[in-house]
């Protein structure tokens, strides 16, 4: 197994263009597990975690967006000022693995793996993030919902890199919760990101681990938009309960050795209700 370690984006794009069968590795927290388990046996690895352009982020106050390089780590996402700009992403990052994993693991890697349990993904889906892809010859940008195609399947082409993710900065409460059987370092059995946007008086909800990919709960969002009061930050108990039911109804989980489908559906409803209550603490 050989490794290439580009430090500039154009160099990285060139080498992936000439080695489209190479495995891209950022933090390696998914890729190395697969290699060690023998599920992947790449001849060539391209390490992208030293590419300066992928390691940085920028805030555009005018456009109210943050553009995050694909190789920015969870530890960085948890810190100020990013944590204030996109609080739900910081919360989701804090739930990821252990300190070691958060120091190495990246948002780009989470997208690259595209597990339905990826903790960064419900946040990106709820906030309507855009994924930027580039090859040596072209660039394109996709809404995250189009980027995620299925269980561990994405729209990424073999000669492309994920370069960055643009995330809208919303005014309003946002948060993330995930259910696991252990209190830390655990794969989500169900997860949810709720974000509010006070400028449009809208509520967004995306759920994870309850379908082949992240699900935006359109019915629940529409219902909440009509039922809550942004002015009083209030939601009735009935609204909170119904919101959970709609979230559960939007999910289509499977049974596996980690949990039953019924439990996952139930749990995602509970998470949705509780997140709504956190966003609208008054009855």
């Amino acid at each position: 197994m050989n490794a290439l370690v580009p430090t500039q984006l154009d160099e990285a794009l060139r080498v992936i263009g000439t080695h489209p069968d190479a495995l891209v590795v950022a933090g390696g927290t998914d890729a190395m597990v697969e290699i060690n388990a023998g599920h992947r046996r790449p001849r060539m690895v391209i390490a992208v975690n030293r590419v300066a352009e992928l390691r940085s982020w920028t805030y555009d106050p005018a456009g109210a967006t943050v553009r995050i390089g694909a190789a920015v780590t969870y530890s960085e996402l948890m810190e100020s000022p990013l944590a204030e700009l996109i609080p739900a992403l910081a919360e989701a990052s804090r739930t990821v693995g252990s300190p070691q994993i958060r120091n190495a693991g990246t948002l780009g890697g989470n997208l690259g793996t595209c597990s339905p349990a990826g903790d960064g993904l419900p946040v990106l889906a709820a906030l309507g993030a855009v994924v930027h892809l580039a090859s040596a010859t072209r660039e394109r940008s996709l809404p995250v919902s189009d980027f995620m195609v299925g269980v561990k399947r994405t729209a990424l082409e073999a000669d492309e890199l994920i370069t960055a993710i643009t995330i809208p900065v919303l005014a309003g409460w946002q948060g993330y919760s995930k259910v696991g059987v252990r209190n830390a370092m655990v794969i989500a059995l169900a997860s949810a990101c709720l974000a509010t946007d006070v400028t449009t008086s809208s509520v967004r909800l995306a759920v994870g681990s309850v379908g082949p990919t992240i699900i935006r709960c359109a019915d629940a969002e529409a219902f909440a938009g009509e039922s809550v009061s942004f002015a009083r930050r209030s939601a009735t108990p009935a609204t909170v309960a119904r919101f959970g039911e709609l979230a559960a109804a939007a999910s289509h989980p499977i049974d596996d050795h980690r949990a039953t489908a019924a439990y996952r559906r139930h749990a995602v409803g509970v998470l949705a209700s509780r997140l709504l209550r956190r966003a609208f603490p008054n009855d």
Partner: protein, 758 residues
């Protein structure tokens, strides 16, 4: 070869909390575990395993694998020169499967090659044709006789009945329940690993291996290789935990066989996934119990039916079963009993020793019953346990009288008196991370209910049922330095610390050198059954005392005093009159004393057909109180605190005792709420630490401890074994606390979220 050897342990006598000689190296990563061992010109070994839980082997074709360059040897059942099977109690497990495979993961062949990658390709190139059969996975099908034997020894490994007192006795209060215990893994962090160095001409082999019992390995390896035991020399490789999983042979015979075949050193390591298949586990069990009691909660009779799934091979199943049935009553007086225990053979993973050894399963059931009884009688659960607590002179249902020290009541009272956590739900800082759900921040304080649970246990110490249980130690004193030699496996429990403390206390020296742990001295027995401090500690103590006697004789002769008047004070030898004072260093300069001693505990008996007999040696007791926070809606749990008072006899190294208590509680917590090997149709669904969950720091509660020190007069140092008790009743205490929080029965461990939400 391990970092312990030859290292001079620090000063510290019995009762001191000195730190371990291997601690720093382990924390800093420089400790040499057996997987770090290497030798020049070394080959790698790897094992081909059955993908089927039950199948006939039609053919094995090695030709394609042999054509791969770098492959030096491939061995199968046909190459085993000695006994084809091995086992700790009955030799029913093939070194390699030849005609049938009986579990997923059963070894079929082993390869030696120049590189792990070559091994992998060679294993892929071996063509095995199977005729797949339906697996026997339900233990009840063994008992109803509806399944033909899957092994020449039959499907029933052991049945043991216990009949005590009046089988027809009854009481006004009757409670019953059926309890289930899932399959727990020992989950040691240091995976199976060994290095074998062949003698010239294949006359013998030297094996470095992480094991619990060097001499038992030696015996079994020799039998399978058709060599004399002396031809197999074992040295302990650095061990990263054991918990019972290193008591059976795993890769020992395979590694030696490959080394003898190739005439080259061979190293073999298991991966984590392979480790799940490559060692025995805690028995999953189903236990029905019915308790009869008086209206004020005094036990009249216990009835039980226990079914332990031994998996494909016997391992220690029969001994595990005996422990379970003889501990049915728990640490409570109970005059009458009717118990039937069965250990059965299935096509599931083989099960055997794990910390607690059968008592874990029995205790989960009897403690569930004690809570049911308390509820039925309207008595507080702690009070009910106090009313029934065993005392010295009480009889077990086996007829054996509890002698020596049995502070059951003290364990209960002191545990109950330990302070409850003063913090509210979520902690003083109101951190949602400290609620059930932890880092996932699923709950707010208002969603949480707190519960408190209590459990008590009794655990036999050392080997039972007539086993000739002994340990050997050698003590050499020369020029003020003591050198100790023993074959006691240091698996992390800290015997290497205690051994030095004993020598320093008995002989008044500062310098204690520990010899290599190997088969160059007699057997120490297994590092299991909470026995090494008692047994090897007893042997080291006896050897040191013998040397001290000789030293005193020499001093007495030199100074013309009575040897019986001499004693050790600090690092000096002093006479009774105070007239004589000479340092041990001075007295031993130019002299050498070298003594080897075998220590045995008092003999035990077999059980008769009615389960009567003095089958155990000694017992230790412990109580646990658990405080848990539960999110009833999501079914998530956070254990907040465990309080425990443990009967330790005497704390020879209080810090080590605390380590055992905290570690044992972590393992008991794991069984209570997360650890389970999930099997379906004989296949393991979760053979990785991604899906087999172990408690993290955030799952571990604060632990408040009271050590009950009533030295046991029959224990050589007054100390009881402390390793197993913490694991045993911590599990039922936590489950009781969850029941208390949600107000519903929970009869299965681990408790899953769906069990809580109901």
């Amino acid at each position: 070869m391990s970092a312990l050897v030859g290292e001079r342990t620090r000063a510290g006598r019995l009762g001191d909390s000195i730190t371990r000689p291997d601690g720093t190296a382990k924390v800093q990563g420089s400790f040499q575990f057996s997987s770090d061992l290497n030798a020049e010109n070394c080959l790698w070994g790897a094992t081909l395993r059955s993908p089927h839980p039950s199948a006939r082997i039609v053919s094995i074709d090695l030709s394609a694998a042999y054509r791969i360059s770098g492959v030096e040897a491939i061995v199968t059942a046909a190459d085993v020169p000695g006994q084809a099977t091995y086992g700790l109690i009955s030799q029913d497990q093939p070194v390699f499967a030849s005609d049938v495979v009986r579990y997923v993961g059963e070894p079929i062949a082993a390869v030696a090659a120049d590189h792990p990658e070559t091994c992998r390709r060679a294993l892929e190139a071996i063509v095995v044709v199977y005729e797949v059969m339906a697996p026997l996975t339900d233990p009840e099908r063994v008992l109803d006789g509806s399944h033909p034997p899957i092994h020449p020894d039959g499907n029933l490994i052991r049945h043991q009945r216990v009949l005590c007192g009046d089988a027809n006795a009854t009481g006004p209060i009757v409670v019953e329940g059926t309890y289930e215990i899932g399959m727990q893994d020992q989950a040691f962090l240091g995976l199976e690993a060994a290095l074998a160095l062949p003698d010239p001409g294949a006359a013998g082999v030297e094996l470095y291996v992480a094991t619990q019992w060097l001499h038992e390995d030696q015996k079994q390896i020799a039998a399978c290789l058709g060599l004399a035991p002396a031809a197999i020399r074992l040295t302990l490789g650095g061990v990263g935990g054991a918990f019972g999983a290193r008591e059976d042979i795993s890769l020992q015979v395979h590694t030696c066989l490959l080394a003898l075949r190739t005439g080259r050193p061979v190293r073999m390591h298991y991966s984590r996934e392979e480790s799940f298949l490559g060692h025995v586990h805690r028995h999953p069990a189903r236990i029905w119990m019915r308790h009869h009691a008086t209206a004020d909660g005094l036990l009249v009779k216990v009835e039980a039916r226990m079914v332990f799934d031994g998996g494909a091979y016997a391992s220690t199943s029969s001994a595990v079963l005996i422990n379970a049935v003889t501990h049915t009553q728990g640490p409570y007086r109970c005059p009458n009993a009717v118990v039937d225990g069965y250990a059965v053979r299935t096509n599931n993973l083989p099960c055997g020793a794990m910390r607690g050894f059968g008592v874990v399963q029995a205790c989960f059931a009897h403690e569930g019953q004690m809570d049911r009884l308390a509820a039925a009688c309207g008595i507080d659960p702690v009070d009910l346990r106090l009313r029934n607590a065993m005392v010295i002179g009480d009889k077990l249902i086996t007829g054996q009288v509890i002698e020596n020290v049995a502070p059951v009541e003290r364990c209960i009272r002191e545990t109950a008196a330990l302070p409850l956590p003063d913090e509210p739900v979520g902690g003083h800082d109101r951190n949602t991370m400290r609620l059930p759900g932890g880092a996932g921040r699923t709950a707010d304080a208002g969603h949480i209910r707190r519960g408190i649970g209590f459990a008590v246990s009794i655990k036999n110490l050392m080997y039972s049922e007539g086993f000739d249980d002994y340990s050997t130690a050698r003590c050499r004193l020369a020029d003020g330095v003591v050198t100790l030699k023993f074959a006691t496996s240091e698996v992390g429990q800290g015997f290497v610390t205690i051994a030095g403390q004993i020598a320093r206390s008995v002989l008044g020296v500062d310098e204690v050198v520990l010899g290599t742990i190997d088969t160059g001295v007699g057997s120490a027995g297994s590092t299991s059954a909470s026995r090494q401090t008692w047994m090897s500690g007893g042997a080291v103590n006896a050897a040191c005392l013998k040397v001290r006697g000789l030293l005193f004789d020499a001093v007495a002769a030199l100074y013309h005093v009575d040897a019986n008047s001499l004693s050790i004070e600090g690092s000096d030898i002093v006479g009774a009159s105070g007239a004589l004072r000479v340092s041990v260093l001075e007295a031993s300069t130019g002299l050498e004393f070298d003594e080897t001693v075998e220590y045995r505990h008092k003999p035990t008996e077999d059980l008769d057909d009615n389960g009567q007999g003095d089958c155990h040696t000694a017992f230790a007791f412990v109580a646990h109180r658990a405080v848990v926070d539960v999110d009833p809606e999501l079914g998530l749990v956070k254990v907040i605190q465990i309080a425990t008072a443990q009967d330790v006899g005497r704390a020879l190294n209080p810090l080590s005792v605390l380590g055992q208590i905290e570690g044992g509680i972590a393992q008991g917590l794991g069984l209570a709420v997360m650890e389970e090997i999930i099997m379906s149709e004989g296949r393991v669904r979760n053979p990785s630490f991604t899906d087999y969950l172990l408690p993290t720091f955030l799952d571990m509660p604060s632990v408040v401890v009271s050590l009950i020190e009533e030295p046991d007069p029959i224990a050589p140092l007054g100390a009881k074994g402390v390793g197993e008790p913490p694991t045993i009743s911590s599990t039922p205490a936590i489950v009781a606390a969850i029941r208390d929080a949600i107000g519903r029965p929970l009869d299965r461990v681990p408790v899953r979220p769906i069990d809580i939400i109901g």
